[in-house]
């Protein structure tokens, strides 16, 4: 545990030691505001909720979370510091978890900084704060899912651009797996159960439930499974590719 904590601390500090943290947080907040107030029509809707805000989270994450995740392992491999890290008395699991949790905590910090929008909606009306809290939680879980995918793919390459593009594509597939764009690829030849299985993998449908304030155990299990699966794959990729 202390090993993971040491790694976590080092990683999180390194975000703030470089401009990465500040650039990311500023862009994240500006885009969140723009989407909510202009595209989402926050005022025009005239409703005391944050749907206009949360509806755009999946799409913002699609590009911003891979930008956080791409450096996780690709950078270590590029600079060779992975050789230092993986010859310390650290297990691959500890390394993967320490780095992943730091990145997740960082997105959590960015998310917490959107609180003024919650203050605004409470100032203007009487929203269901329980539902908003649930939606924040769901948004954080979804970011964790994207990050786990990104962390795993980042370990496959030394090149951060490749890691970014791969992650965006895979995350896009996960977002839309309930929609014809993805399902049509499978419905022609795969049995219905597989098509249904793929449809149930959609981040969007699982997030939609939580963002309405309904925390369903199945949605939690879904995100937990996505995260666990990709982090497990991450440790395997790491052991397999670390020295290449």
């Amino acid at each position: 545990m202390s090993m993971i904590a040491s790694l976590f601390k080092r990683e999180l500090q390194s975000y703030f030691a470089t401009p990465v943290a500040y650039v990311f947080i500023v862009i994240f907040l500006v885009l969140m505001g723009t989407f909510t107030f202009y595209l989402g029509g926050f005022y025009e809707r005239g409703q005391a909720d944050l749907n206009a805000f949360f509806n755009y989270h999946p799409w913002l994450y699609l590009f911003l979370v891979p930008a956080i995740a791409m450096r996780l392992w690709a950078e270590e491999r590029k600079t060779g510091s992975i050789e230092l890290l993986m010859t310390l008395p650290i297990t691959p699991w500890q390394a993967v978890l320490g780095k992943y949790l730091a990145a997740w905590a960082f997105t959590g910090i960015a998310l917490i900084l959107t609180l003024p929008i919650w203050i605004t909606v409470n100032y203007l009306g009487n929203p269901d704060n329980g539902a908003i809290l649930a939606a924040y939680f769901g948004s954080f879980l979804m970011a964790g899912g994207f990050l786990a995918i990104g962390s795993c793919l980042s370990a496959t390459t030394k090149n951060q651009v490749i890691a970014f593009v791969l992650t965006v594509v895979v995350c896009f597939g996960f977002l839309l797996s309930g929609f014809p764009l993805v399902l049509d690829l499978f419905s022609a030849w795969a049995p219905q159960t597989i098509v249904d299985g793929i449809a149930s993998l959609s981040f969007l449908t699982h997030f939609a439930n939580i963002s309405k304030g309904v925390i369903d155990f199945r949605d939690l299990v879904y995100f937990a499974l996505v995260i666990a699966t990709f982090l497990f794959a991450n440790t395997i990729v790491l052991q397999w590719k670390q020295a290449d």
């Binding site: 080092r10 060779g80 010859t87 008395p89």
Partner: protein, 329 residues
């Protein structure tokens, strides 16, 4: 964290590392080919070889970063394959090129390494202070590592490797990029730590082997070609017991050269223009002091004016070339 008991050596063996048949191929290319050796504490083992000989790959396998195709490495009784965490506890490692985290400062970096190495409280503080002192990192402690010169980066890497006072130190080109003074200091440091540790260094600087190593292993194409003390390796040189005369001017050059060449103990001579010198190479099988006695006798008898006379122990670079030539791919 490993339980304490797991960090103790698993069995009593006076060998700090035991390498048994290590082999690694990338595609068709065999980089390390059934490499085996054992090494006790107190030794400074120099890994010598041309670029691409497999030095770094062997070190990466001993430290567990690269998984061998076959064979095993044991560090203080712990197999790096089966008991990797315990083996790594005993190891300090400076990887090739001394990679670090560029956005950290030496202070935060060393603190991080100390945490991961399980050092805490007073001991952590004392060890960090000691390595800062030993590697003269004082002036740059709070600069980010990316802004440091190559020499300082290398020293940060060394500090990281020795921080937990490991039983086995693996240093891949520890003096690369250092200036002559810094090289000297690092060699002194290696010598001062060597009494109770095993230190393995890789280098292609032959003077370094003569300066610090108590044992040299020459490898090429992943195989051990020679394994001996630097002095005994040098003794296999054709220049072993050779006598070198440095002349003041070239007036007597031809006369001296032909006279020396006629001596019984001298097989042949080689000459050099700058500085003007003649090297008398010992005849194989002759008495080891023969050339020296004969040449000095001749110089005294003829009353030649000589700038200097020197007996050679042998040239490691010549031995190295002879052994490794034809093995490069």
């Amino acid at each position: 964290m490993q339980p304490r008991a797991a960090m103790e050596p698993a069995h009593e063996s006076h060998f700090m590392i035991e390498i048994d048949g290590l082999t690694k191929s990338y595609g068709q290319h065999t980089v390390v080919d059934h490499l085996s050796f054992r090494s006790p504490a107190g030794e400074v083992l120099g890994f010598l070889g041309p670029n691409g000989a497999g030095k770094s790959t062997t070190m990466k396998m001993i430290t567990g970063f690269v998984t061998p195709d076959s064979g095993n490495a044991t560090v203080c009784g712990h197999s790096i394959a089966d008991d990797s965490q315990a083996a790594r506890q005993q190891l300090g490692y400076l990887p090739e090129g001394a990679p670090c985290y560029p956005e950290m400062t030496p202070r935060t970096f060393l603190k991080f390494i100390a945490e991961v190495r399980g050092l805490s409280g007073e001991r952590r503080k004392a060890r960090i202070e000691q390595v800062i002192e030993q590697l003269h990192l004082g002036p740059v402690l709070d600069q980010t590592i990316e802004t440091l010169s190559k020499g300082f980066k290398r020293r940060v890497g060394l500090a990281q490797a020795i921080l937990h006072d490991p039983a086995v130190l693996i240093l891949d080109e520890p003096t690369d990029g250092l200036d002559p003074n810094q090289k000297h200091e690092v060699r002194e440091l290696i010598r001062s730590m060597s009494a109770d540790k095993l230190i393995v260094i890789s280098t292609h600087i032959l003077e370094e082997v003569e300066a610090v190593c108590s044992r040299a292993i020459i490898i090429a194409s992943g195989r051990i070609l020679a394994d001996d003390t630097p002095a005994r390796l040098a003794a296999t040189s054709r220049y072993h017991n050779a006598v070198r005369l440095t002349l003041e001017d070239d007036k007597l050059f031809d006369e001296i050269r032909s006279a020396v060449e006629r001596l019984d103990s001298v097989a042949e001579t080689e000459s050099d223009r700058s500085p003007l010198s003649i090297t008398a190479i010992a005849r194989p099988g002759s008495d080891s002091a023969g050339p020296w006695r004969d040449v000095t006798g001749l110089v005294a008898a003829r009353n030649w004016k000589i700038a200097s006379l020197q007996m050679e122990a042998g040239r490691l670079d010549e031995v190295f070339r002879r052994i490794t030539q034809g093995t490069e791919q």
